[in-house]
């Protein structure tokens, strides 16, 4: 997920070319207070006029407690981007209030309530503690994200490359997302020149269950894709498992073995997920 400042027309109009799965058009932290109106108008017009190809479009609005949040919703919701990201979500109650406002705007424009997702951004200690109820408060919540920089600030600690201070938060947020079967996106890696550090952090995020990672520079996209793309060996193994599963299923067998190792439903599900990532289909 590529962050693009909402007041940068050059970056916005090229947002779709870098191969990111998702674009975050940012009206919040990346935009100075005196640029908020201009950014809102620019993002509104860009969404209507630029082809972002296959990338999902998500808009991060300002919090409703600021003078800009409501105006952001009124400008963006009628355009129905793929998602609205809500910053500093701390409770289910406030997220439900956001959704209520969104749906009232949708009603005004005769828009359905089931198209645009809501992504809750968790970046305070209170949000981390409430994350399970936040994630499950509405079927419109399609993803959780963690904001590492704000979270460390809220915790009054320094963000370190090993991520020690936010490790608990990461895992708690991942677990809440997994419990509600929604996506979960890791925080940005701030040093754009440290490729090795980005690889290490992305590998860790993948290992503990994040389904993706946010980036602040397009140069980071291919690196993250590489980490998340299954290796040839993983694909070969998954293909074999799924193929054997289909053959056995047709024969009425639920559990079987490959090279002496038991293959059951969870192993098959994992293999199917790998093939889905690799865009590989199995036919027998």
């Amino acid at each position: 997920m590529l962050y693009i400042p909402g007041n940068n027309p050059a970056m916005l109009q090229q947002g779709g070319v870098y191969g990111a799965d998702s674009l975050l058009l940012d009206l919040e932290d990346a935009v100075a207070i005196n640029q908020k109106d201009a950014a809102r108008i620019l993002v509104r017009n860009i969404i209507q006029s630029i082809d972002f190809y296959d990338a999902e479009v998500c808009v991060r609005i300002n919090h409703l407690s600021t003078p800009f949040g409501l105006a952001d919703l009124e400008a963006i919701v009628p355009l129905q981007p793929d998602a609205i990201r809500y910053p500093k979500t701390e409770t289910a109650t406030e997220l439900l209030e956001l959704i209520r406002i969104i749906e009232s705007i949708e009603d005004k424009h005769n828009l359905p309530h089931n198209q645009m997702e809501i992504h809750a951004m968790i970046e305070t200690a209170l949000g981390v503690q409430n994350v399970f109820s936040i994630a499950g408060c509405s079927p419109r919540v399609g993803a959780l994200t963690i904001g590492g920089q704000d979270l460390t600030a809220d915790m009054n600690i320094v963000y370190t490359p090993d991520g020690a201070g936010i490790d608990f938060a990461r895992k708690r947020i991942v677990m809440a997302a997994k419990a509600w079967k929604i996506d979960v996106i890791d925080t940005v890696f701030p040093d754009i020149n440290d490729e090795a550090g980005l690889i290490k952090e992305t590998e860790y995020a993948k290992k503990i269950g994040f389904t993706g990672k946010a980036v602040i520079n397009p140069r980071q996209i291919d690196i993250i894709h590489e980490v998340y793309t299954p290796t040839d060996e993983e694909i070969r193994k998954a293909f074999r498992i799924v193929k054997e599963f289909m053959v056995n299923k047709n024969a009425g067998i639920g559990v079987f073995a490959i090279d002496g190792k038991m293959i059951d439903a969870p192993v098959v599900a994992r293999a199917q997920y790998i093939l889905e990532l690799a865009n590989v289909k199995v036919e027998i």
Binding site: Q13, V17, Y18, G19, S49, I50, D51, P218, R219
Partner: protein, 518 residues
């Protein structure tokens, strides 16, 4: 008359002569010979042990007997650090010499100070592969009575062989030279690497002056320029600004846009069918073009490929690839940074070549003929795949033909990389303002929005699609980009021709008209 690209070319221009229209990228070569005869090189003699050393550049120029209407040549290996061209022209101006033909292999911003000498008639004709800065702007606005002639690097050699350029004096800057004029650019405080463009000047000029800031004991090795062609040797404190001649190592761009374009171009190369054991390769020195080398380097390692040779303008990145064993050889006609000079001096697989061997179309095979893959930049491209590298969006002359058309003509795969728009200016046009490289010699154009395949080479499109690469029709891409940027307004020109674009074979591929806006 119209040439084969439909460009209107005058049959004759007063002061220039008859013009021959471009007929096709390989039309003249297919005959197997050059129509024009090759003129003989000057006949010279010198007594044994006669000193060539002069106490100043002025003395050397005076000994060369300059006269009105003479032609003087320079090489551009010192890039934007060159001070000799301005120094020599100033001397000629102070001597009262007028109506000079300036035939520098390229002109850079550092040559802006000669503008008054154009305006006062000291210089009345220019031949060059590129013109930039204030000179380019002034010439585009009619500063010269006669149009400048833009040639390619290979075309310059042809123009000298045929006598279209007849050098009276050649000034050859060298970072090391001896008292006989054996000279090189590969070492010394002002080292600039290969001196390949100057070799033809040394061979054909009536008076050849080597200028150095580093006189070494005889003999100066390597013998990049040899003493048998040199009339005079001048030693100065400095031949140029070393910080602008060559410094450090070339770094790959950090621009996400350039890297994106480069990645797509490298993917296209990988799946073109030409990325195989023993392939040969040339890339430009900056931006997306050089960045392609980064991805090709990774792909070569991954696929355990070893290339034959890298050619042309050479950067430290090419040197790194040579030292890693990814290529057997570098053939170097022009070097771009200090690290390249060191490699040229020390590595026997890094070989200095003259422009004639690099790109002259009329011989038994220049090295561009042997190229498999070349990656080139562009100021503008059009839907017929023609490329403009000489005039900018505002109509000014501000670039260089260089080896663009030479390498495109020779390579099995010519990849042009450019963004689809710069700022708010679309780069893909219906028709480029100035054609330098004909579309028939361009196989693919790669922008950040995908790979456009020249319909003349449909097999490439099929290969790219099979590999899952994003192939876009250039007309569709133009429409998409115009939708973002809007269509640029048309520039206004007078009917005065200020520039002639000579294709490498000597035919005229396009002309540049004077900008109306002053």
């Amino acid at each position: 008359m119209k040439n084969s690209l439909g460009r209107e070319i005058p049959e004759y221009i007063d002061g220039i002569g008859k013009l021959e229209p471009f007929e096709g990228a390989w039309a003249k070569l297919s005959k197997g010979w050059m129509d024009e005869p090759t003129i003989p090189a000057p006949n010279k003699a010198m007594l044994p042990h006669q000193s060539k050393l002069c106490s100043s550049l002025q003395e050397a120029i005076e000994k060369a007997a300059p006269k009105n209407g003479m032609t003087i040549t320079f090489h551009h290996h010192l890039r934007d650090g060159d001070i000799l061209l301005v120094m020599a022209i100033t001397i000629l101006h102070e001597m009262g010499i007028r109506d000079i033909t300036l035939a520098a292999s390229s002109l850079n911003d550092c040559h802006d100070p000669i503008l008054p000498f154009i305006q006062d008639g000291t210089i009345t004709r220019i031949w060059s592969s590129g013109i930039r800065g204030k000179l380019g702007r002034a010439i585009s606005r009619g500063a010269m009575k006669l149009p400048v002639i833009i040639h390619s690097h290979g075309g310059r050699v042809r123009a000298i062989h045929t006598g279209r350029i007849q050098p009276d004096i050649a000034i050859i800057a060298a970072s090391a030279a001896d008292c006989e004029g054996n000279a090189t650019g590969s070492h010394g405080k002002s080292a600039f690497g290969s001196i390949g463009y100057a070799v033809i000047d040394a061979r054909y000029a009536k008076h050849v002056i080597v200028v150095t800031d580093n006189l070494v004991p005889y003999p100066c090795i390597p013998l990049s320029i040899t003493q048998n062609f040199i009339d005079h040797v001048v030693v100065l404190d400095s031949i140029g600004d070393t910080s602008k001649i060559a410094s450090g190592t070339t770094r790959i761009t950090n621009s996400p846009m350039d890297l994106r374009i480069a990645k797509l171009a490298a993917d296209a190369i990988e799946h073109s069918g030409y990325f195989e054991q023993g392939f040969s390769f040339q890339v430009g020195a900056g931006g997306a073009s050089l960045a392609v080398a980064k991805f090709i380097r990774e792909k070569m390692k991954k696929n355990q490929l070893k290339g034959s040779f890298m050619l042309g303008g050479v950067t430290s990145y090419c040197v790194d690839m040579l030292e890693e064993g990814l290529f057997e050889t570098i053939f170097d006609v022009q070097s771009f940074d200090a690290a390249v000079s060191k490699s040229l001096f020390n590595n026997r697989r890094h070989i200095e070549i003259p422009a004639a061997l690099y790109a002259n179309p009329f011989n038994c095979g220049c090295m561009t003929n042997k190229l498999d893959i070349v990656v080139l930049g562009a100021l503008e491209v059009d839907v017929d795949f023609n490329v403009n590298v000489i005039t900018g969006s505002e109509g000014n002359i501000r670039g260089a033909s260089g080896g663009h058309s030479d390498t495109a003509s020779g390579a099995n795969l010519t990849v042009v990389v450019c963004p689809s728009f710069r700022g708010r200016i679309p780069i893909i046009k219906n028709s480029v303002h100035t054609v330098v490289t004909p579309g028939e010699s361009v196989h693919v154009i790669v922008t950040e929005r995908g790979i456009c395949v020249n319909p003349l080479y449909p097999h490439l499109g099929e290969k790219f699609r099979n590999a899952g690469l994003k192939v876009v029709d250039i007309h569709d891409l133009k429409k998409e980009v115009d939708g973002i940027t809007g269509v640029s307004r048309k520039l206004k020109f007078t009917d005065k021709i200020v520039g002639i674009i000579e294709y490498r074979d000597g035919t005229i591929i396009d002309v540049i008209y004077e900008l109306e806006e002053k």
